[in-house]
Symmetry: C3
Subunit: 269 residues, 3 copies
Amino acid sequence: VAAGILTLTTDFGADGTYVAAIKGVVLSRAPGTQIIDVSHSIAPQNIAEGSFVLAEVAEYFPQGTVHLAVVDPGVGTDRRLIVVRVRDHWFVVPDNGLISGILRRDSHHSGIWEIRYVDPLPSGISWTFHGRDLLAPAAAHLLLGGDPLDLGPALDKVVRLEEIEPKPDGDALLGGEVIFVDRFGNLITNLLGASLDPAAPADWSVELLGRSIDGLNSTYAERPPGTLVALIGSSGRLEVAVVNGNAAESLQAGPGTSVMLRRSRRKAP
Amino acid sequence: VAAGILTLTTDFGADGTYVAAIKGVVLSRAPGTQIIDVSHSIAPQNIAEGSFVLAEVAEYFPQGTVHLAVVDPGVGTDRRLIVVRVRDHWFVVPDNGLISGILRRDSHHSGIWEIRYVDPLPSGISWTFHGRDLLAPAAAHLLLGGDPLDLGPALDKVVRLEEIEPKPDGDALLGGEVIFVDRFGNLITNLLGASLDPAAPADWSVELLGRSIDGLNSTYAERPPGTLVALIGSSGRLEVAVVNGNAAESLQAGPGTSVMLRRSRRKAP
Amino acid sequence: VAAGILTLTTDFGADGTYVAAIKGVVLSRAPGTQIIDVSHSIAPQNIAEGSFVLAEVAEYFPQGTVHLAVVDPGVGTDRRLIVVRVRDHWFVVPDNGLISGILRRDSHHSGIWEIRYVDPLPSGISWTFHGRDLLAPAAAHLLLGGDPLDLGPALDKVVRLEEIEPKPDGDALLGGEVIFVDRFGNLITNLLGASLDPAAPADWSVELLGRSIDGLNSTYAERPPGTLVALIGSSGRLEVAVVNGNAAESLQAGPGTSVMLRRSRRKAP
């Protein structure tokens, strides 16, 4: 088997000892693996942000890529570790919703397995570092072309993050939060906007941190520089931005900031 | 063709989704490419800093290396994307001056080509992310040993950054700026000092942020610790430093800080 | 010879020009080397922190891995550069104590060599960047399967950092310092605790930054959230932590912070 590609997405920080230990374990078990760091700066224990980043990036990698992601507030509890196969990509993650973004884009997975066994077992399995002791060996097994059933039994379903999808004629008030800040300081939320009609912006207003934004825009360019705007972005999510500016800095907002979507006007009957 | 080496120099930040997407595209098109991150911390849209970093680093890589650099304030305008070949290295960049540092060190390039076509075309080409949709596919084409003429026509010249080279008998006042801060907090400028004579330091003074430095030193070691000094550094550029200290922190200076070089005394006739 | 693995641990910062230059030199001399960044965020010139990180991580990599580490306050002085072989791993480092953590875990090395020659010589050897000009070529030599004796003569011993190991019946007051802050903000010190008895916590107290902690705990879980605790951690070292909190932030502590271990009570006769 040709050496495969492993991507890593974690909240460990790039420069501690944790990421390097995972890489060492993978290279010891699956020599020649090409390792690509996606991000180690996911906000600590922010599953929604990890899920978003993984889903934005995975599709660009070749078929057969193994994606290892660790944002794991439940380490040491009985949350499961799982392998999920989607369109010939493998995902090795805690079963806490981290796979949600992938499955929202591509709901047909071709298999879920629980990780119960790795072979060989590490000399010791820590209670706090399953990324190194279980997920990395499981990823190496897949990188070597191993059968996921060697790791544990097939499962029917996985934990999914609550996704908040407002309906045009639905609730008048919906609460979500910022899940990612991009390099321009745009605030990307967990409020999905696919079914909203940006041609009728007056129907909706957005509130965060005491600021109110009337109407949804369809692009950044419609409003003067410096204006705070809300729009449905390229990822299909409600985003808050400052035209030609940095919303995260202006509002002191970031992952976890609460965002309200309010119907400002009843639809005409 | 043996898998090649790709270096990446951008202002994207290491931990967003942009860098990983570029890597995925390259690995999907040119499997086995070895990817080396030079920097993703170029100050946003600071072409001079990107040009400096690229020129400091490229020469250490093997012949045949492809260097992809993206600092691209003009994305979405009609600025061109280009390939430049210099001494058996390939550079894939926006044509906005990013290649200037390379060409200042090594003015004989062996070809410039415009990037107009990539094959296969990505499923969609965004208006804001040519790094992923055009530069990464072009780099992959070169990594596979492809002909640059497949990408577009040969060009005669490229955009160059203004470089400021004072002459011993030239203007009495020259303005430049800091383009890079190194790990010691030394401030490296776009003022070239090759033709200045550090043996005659009293001829020149340097001003920045309301501070004045009389004379150019030839090394750090001549002055007491804590002294603010100006010198011609190893890259042939005017640098401002604090002996055994951190000039960037002391002066609160960084990329973009204005620096004036003033002739403090007429040369003897 | 199959291409080998090189790990890098430095205080250079990930995003300057220094790390990329080292990678270029290695890839020019030993094509195909797989390069893994451990950390480039060691606190500047903090040898103890570099030694700790290297020792925490190296064991997870395969046999034959070459570990290049540069934290080198003595660059330009007559401190030696060395190669140390321990359990089929190669370490290429300045001889300033950086190897101490490795040798404390595994005191039987199988060879020490001084680095005096590299072949081919770089076109110029800078006084300030031996990492690029000497250590990187030496690492490439080993990655190609070269004999360490080609680099210089065998040595008998290396510089070791002072390690502070309190004895149950030893001095009543011992001073050490924080050498590493982990991702949870736990403060890991250079005070070794293997011979202390956490079952007799009342024997010891710990002081730092004007705070006093009575007694050593054996785990985090024994005390209420928010409590400042001292314990012997998984690395066998005295650690200071806040239960479910971040000690580094709470105390504004970091590498170099002084820590005192005081016997609070005479042992029973």
